[in-house]
């Protein structure tokens, strides 16, 4: 797959900045797209297009456990999140809702770059450099392959690994 980069190479982008707490209390998740990242970049909702890639810094998604954070990115159109590192709850939540994420600690990916991404191998190419993401644990690959934890458990009824 390929995707255009929105670079926010800032450390500790927390879930309050991904989707402020005041907007999270609804089951209508499509509304999150209106407020995703608004305290960080009020233009984000106008810039983002379906299939784009978000690239963050260290400890992306720290803060609350709200699953609304990866959902907000997904409903905004983001297809993959790359960061130098992720907070652990964000990491789980993203996989559980079927949003692929890749951890690449050392990179010089530029804003607006077009990335070629191979999720299985974790290889990312920005036209100049090829990066290798740390591999996901098998259980996460299984969950992602089913499209998230809901379809995974609907099919398997319990964890099988």
């Amino acid at each position: 797959m390929t995707g255009r980069v929105h670079l926010y190479d800032i450390d500790n982008i927390d879930t309050d900045r991904i989707i402020p707490g005041k907007y999270t209390k609804t089951l209508d998740v499509s509304t999150f797209a209106d407020h995703c990242l608004e305290d960080l970049d009020s233009d984000f909702k106008h810039k983002v297009q379906q299939g784009d890639v978000l690239v963050g810094g260290w400890n992306f998604g720290c803060g609350s456990s709200r699953e609304q954070a990866p959902i907000a990115l997904k409903v905004s159109g983001i297809s993959v999140v790359i960061a130098r590192s992720f907070s652990r709850i964000f990491y789980r939540n993203a996989i559980n809702i079927g949003l692929p994420i890749l951890e690449i600690p050392d990179h010089t990916i530029a804003d607006g770059a077009s990335l070629e991404i191979d999720l299985e191998s974790g290889k990312v190419y920005d036209g100049n450099t090829e990066y290798s993401a740390s591999p996901l644990p098998q259980v996460m690959i299984d969950i992602l392959n089913e499209g998230g934890l809901v379809p995974y458990l609907k099919k398997h009824k319990t964890y099988t690994f």
């Binding site: 402020p20 707490g21 400890n59 609350s64 699953e67 652990r88 789980r92 964890y159």
Partner: protein, 419 residues
């Protein structure tokens, strides 16, 4: 001594608890499927949890008595949309006989401990990041998102990567005016926002004998501010109203890092805007003007916190131009604070009360600050927009510092006030 302790030497507290819940010996770095003792969701996460649970094919939780819902984050409901989400939780709990604490009962983490839904050595998972608070009881507890929690409601299990542990040795006696909040702010400042990601923090040392259950909850609570998966405090010196077997680490357990903190030398601490790791001694920010003082949250809204504030504010008035919000952590806290006169003292000083719950902590309602206002808060987070306004600045401190500062209108060391 249980079987796993005999056969598997050299384990941390986390490894011991997770081994007991996996049914076999696990070491840091391994993935394990573990049996969960209790599962909790608040009104921020429960609605999505129930939706995912239904979509997975779930009807009744694996164990209704161990499935706990708390209406605390936006309670009482500030609008029609949230009122309907609350209704959804009530209806599900009624239909499935799961446990529900309705509005006014208090903050989920306070209730889980008060109502004994968590005990030492247990594994408890909550759909809220501050679920780590139950490390105060020597339990392994951690936060997950809504879908992970739905999976637990369906299966009674979850998968976890057994974390490496960072050992924190707290030694010595805190000086007057220094509280558990100052100790944990010191730790957060040293470890940093990212320093314990994927890891557990395990606390031991001579300071523990001075720490109440409430103090331990304050310390365990902020593990997640360092990225920690758990923040477990050894149960030495902990008194509980029931009998329990302490889970202690083996002397040859392995840690990724050991940090010793001499508590007798620390000063009251402040986390400056806009990050909990932005920690300094109070001396660096003395005199900073404040607009609002907030005492509450799962970090510092307990009876002893309100009593500490009352001891400073007794017979006095808030500084002109300063407003003060008080949110007791639970109805139980509120009842005690009313019975012993604490609430009277605070009200006479000019404080405003908010019903037990999260109150203004997460910026949904009840006490959203205005632009460019400065808030001094006993909470655990001060990221931009945390209290609902990205143009406000939040400083974090102990209840003693917040009360002393509300009295003077500027950040003040409680020890410097005339007694």
């Amino acid at each position: 001594m249980s079987l796993w302790q005999i056969f598997n030497m050299g384990q941390t507290i986390s490894e011991k608890i997770l081994s007991a819940h996996a049914g076999y010996d696990v070491k840091a770095g391994e993935l394990a499927i573990v049996n969960v003792d209790s599962a909790m969701a608040s009104d921020t996460t429960a609605p999505l949890t129930l939706k995912a649970f239904k979509e997975m094919g779930g009807t009744t939780p694996w164990n209704s008595e161990k499935t706990i819902f708390v209406i605390d984050h936006a309670s009482p409901a500030p609008n029609e949309r949230i009122a309907n989400l609350h209704k959804l939780m009530r209806e599900f709990a009624r239909k499935t006989n799961s446990v529900l604490y309705d509005e006014g009962a208090g903050i989920c983490h306070q209730i889980m401990v008060e109502e004994q839904h968590v005990k030492p050595g247990q594994l408890v998972i909550g759909a809220d990041s501050h679920t780590v608070t139950y490390g105060a009881l020597g339990a392994f507890s951690t936060g997950v998102g809504s879908t992970d929690l739905a999976a637990i409601m369906l299966t009674g299990k979850t998968w976890l990567k057994v974390p490496e542990s960072i050992k924190i040795i707290l030694k010595g006696k805190p000086n007057p005016g220094v509280t558990a909040k100052d100790i944990i702010l010191e730790v957060v400042g040293k470890i940093g926002l990212n320093g314990a990601t994927y890891k557990a923090l395990e606390y031991s040392g001579s300071t523990l004998e001075y720490l109440t259950l409430g103090d331990r909850m304050t310390i365990a609570n902020m593990a997640v501010e360092m990225g920690g998966k758990a923040g477990i405090i050894e149960t030495s010196g902990l008194e509980l109203p029931y009998h329990f077997e302490p889970v202690l680490p083996d002397s040859d357990a392995e840690y990724s890092q050991t940090l010793t903190i001499d508590v007798s030398s620390i000063r009251p601490k402040i986390a400056k805007p806009h990050s909990p790791e932005n920690v300094c001694d109070i001396d660096d920010v003395l005199g900073t003007k404040i607009d609002m003082a907030f005492i509450g949250t799962c970090t510092n809204g307990r009876l002893e916190d309100l009593q500490l504030a009352a001891s400073i504010l007794k017979g006095k008035k808030l500084a002109t131009g300063v407003r003060m919000l008080i949110t007791p952590a639970s109805r139980n806290v509120l009842n005690h604070a009313m019975a012993d006169g604490t609430m009277n003292i605070l009200s006479e000083a000019g404080a405003t009360f908010i019903p037990p719950g999260c109150g203004p902590c997460v910026g949904t309602h009840l006490g959203v600050p205005g632009n460019n206002e400065i808030i001094l808060s006993t909470a655990n987070r001060n990221f931009p927009g945390r209290m609902g306004n990205p143009n406000a600045s939040v400083y974090l401190a102990s209840p003693a510092v917040v009360a002393a500062s509300a009295l003077t209108g500027v950040i003040t060391d409680p020890e410097s006030l005339d007694k």
